[in-house]
Symmetry: C2
Subunit: 406 residues, 2 copies
């Protein structure tokens, strides 16, 4: 049974808010070296404070701050040099009143001291005596034992992909494996009697190589997923349904890159209706209207338009957010962007999201048009702008936000 | 011999323009599925045109455009239905004057036809006769055989990392392996008697786990490099020099995460001077002044400050551009960013580049301060802003560009 007649078109905003299959990828432990951009399943708390000891932030001398009060160039304070702290070792001396200890940056503040005076404000006027020409307040020149991280504080939050600097903080805290959501396995199945694999050397009349699957695989990888190229199925009735039933058990998200003929579109809807529940058939987006969203026992399925450009635009707007959600991510990383002035008027229908490919030169965004059958429009573009659903167009000269491709 | 005394500090702008070691990674062939974000060594030309045939962009009927001139709802044109084109197959019929052929989107335009009239403007009024109510111009409803890509045109340029959509266009053109620069191998060596591996369960007094190497590995991976954690060496004279000599032959870029004590800094300069030529020692950047740049037989080496925050800031500003250059990339991908209003005045010294960590909330950028010994400043930040070298500060309320972490 075709779901086509029974499901109205939806807006992209409705789809993002309302289409929420429950499936999430399982949690696995990965070593820190493999954790970049992975999504922690839970907040990771610090088991101990960092740096864990009162640590000097300067080269200088550990002192009792009170001993330096009033010190100046005209009236220096003189302190007895009691010893030196070695890097990575416990101090062997205690700072008594009137005394000081030589400190390297990063050293442990010795007992008795409460500050480090910078070497720039000192001089060893005679062996064993340090002249101090500027006062230091208690806590000066050091960080507290828990100033970087307190015990129990969150080193990283749940649900936000780990950044390079997060890996540093986890390493500092001795966390060398992290519980993260598994990378979503995204099965990409292509349909269409005309579609042949990219490694087909010579094309017969009317054949086209499968461009969409390779590009989708790239978008999936960019969003932290693991693309699984599930091959090309013909438009013959029943073929897609059979393939979907095979791939669903091992997929966290299924993407059908539909054939572009009427027959292929009908066949996709029939096949999807047989394995899941269609949530919408038709999205108010240009390009990309013939998009289908369905849920198969909690696993999201997205049926993309036949034209590569339309398919990739829709996947970026709807598929990528689904992918983040499946991977347990509620704070996707920011995308590159820039602001530019629109070179010409753009019309749009109210209630529809328009995604317009643009070249950006010298602060000017020039829309690129062409049939959505042309993939090269997408590769010539630097990025795209969105005309939101309520708008009926944009005037030339408007400053617009461009999302840039990377 | 220490290079310290002989090399003046440089500005970041001078370093980026003037420090240009010649080494580039070799070229290797990789399959398309592994080519995302890899840097093509040469432009990849199309061996044949795309789509390679005159292709319908709509569902409808292939016609001779002249036969539809003047067609309207009031005065339709009637054409003989001569057959149908199948997807992925050569047309079996020729369109003669007064005839038409049913066309699926994506089908091959049959001989004799020069346009496709959309199905919306047609009706099969009686079996074998198609009524056309709107004219179509020659070339309407189709793309030319070379409209997506002409023979010999560049599918992708040299020197720009491949995007997901580039993979699609390459697949469409039958290019399944690409000659790309090898990923730069970035050897990261940490120094400091106080530094211990991240998997050290309990720290002795004064010890710190190596945070910088893990974070640098993440930054390297983000810039397309392959991090090689080359271990921790002590501050003992000669140790670093020996380690550098070992790792240089297999590295495309060497990063020394220096110990933060005076002794460690001296030792780094001595060791680097023994294996290469120091280009500068000292950069006009805050944080990150004690940075060292050197060239070892064409291979760049960067000596980073001891504090993790300073080290990571400098690596982002200077190391990442070096990394892109070594990998043959002259058009690095754009970084995420946003604009925000500064919450407070920021001072800066003219001639120095300041990198200020910020939190961004509701369009407002709040600078985060703290000793550069604190890694958590970096993990709490959403991004950073740059106070450029000529500026002496920024006023509260200024609109600033923030580079966002991802």
């Amino acid at each position: 049974m075709s779901g086509r007649e029974f499901f109205a078109a939806r807006t992209v905003a409705e789809a993002l808010a309302g289409f929420r299959p429950a499936h999430r990828t399982p949690v696995e432990n990965v070593p820190l070296a493999a954790a970049l951009h992975r999504v922690p399943a839970a907040e990771v708390p610090a088991r101990s404070a960092l740096p864990g000891f009162v640590r000097s932030t300067v080269d200088g001398f550990a002192v009792r701050a009170a001993d330096t009060y009033g010190a100046s160039d005209g009236l220096p304070t003189y302190l007895d040099l009691l010893g030196a702290v070695r890097m990575g070792a416990a101090p062997a001396v205690v700072v008594r009143p009137g005394g000081c200890v030589a400190m390297p940056t990063g050293g442990v503040l010795p007992e008795g001291a409460d500050a480090v005076v910078m070497v720039e404000y000192t001089a060893e006027t005679m062996p064993g005596t340090i002249e101090v020409t500027r006062p230091v307040a208690p806590g000066g020149g050091v960080v507290r034992a828990d100033e970087d991280v307190a015990v129990g504080a969150a080193l990283v939050p749940a649900g936000r992909p780990l950044r390079a600097t997060d890996l540093g903080l986890l390493a500092a805290a001795g966390v060398t494996t992290v519980a993260v959501h598994a990378r979503p396995r995204v099965a990409i199945v292509s349909t269409g009697d005309e579609v042949v694999p990219p490694d087909t050397a010579e094309l017969a009349a009317g054949q086209v190589r499968d461009a969409t699957a390779s590009a989708l695989a790239g978008l999936v990888a960019d969003a932290g997923g693991e693309p699984i190229i599930a091959g090309i199925v013909s438009d013959e009735p029943g073929t897609l349904r059979k393939r979907l039933a095979e791939i669903l058990p091992d997929a966290d998200l299924v993407v059908v890159s539909a054939g572009s003929s009427v027959g292929a579109r009908d066949e996709t809807a029939d096949a999807v209706a047989a394995v899941g529940e269609i949530w919408c058939h038709g999205l108010a987006i240009k390009p990309g209207k013939p998009t289908l969203l369905a849920e198969c026992d909690g696993t999201p399925l997205i049926g993309l338009p036949g034209n590569p450009l339309s398919a990739l635009v829709v996947f970026g707007q709807v598929g990528v957010p689904l992918l983040w959600r499946v991977s347990g991510c509620d704070a996707p990383p920011p995308e590159p962007g820039t602001r530019a002035r629109l070179s010409r008027d753009l019309a749009s229908a109210a209630g529809r999201l328009d995604v317009v490919q643009v070249r950006v030169r010298d602060g000017c965004a020039e829309p690129l048009f062409g049939p959505s059958a042309l993939l090269s429009v997408l590769t010539r573009a630097d990025g795209y702008l969105i005309i939101p659903e309520p708008a009926t167009g944009l005037d030339a000269g408007t400053e617009v936000e461009i999302t840039l491709y990377r």
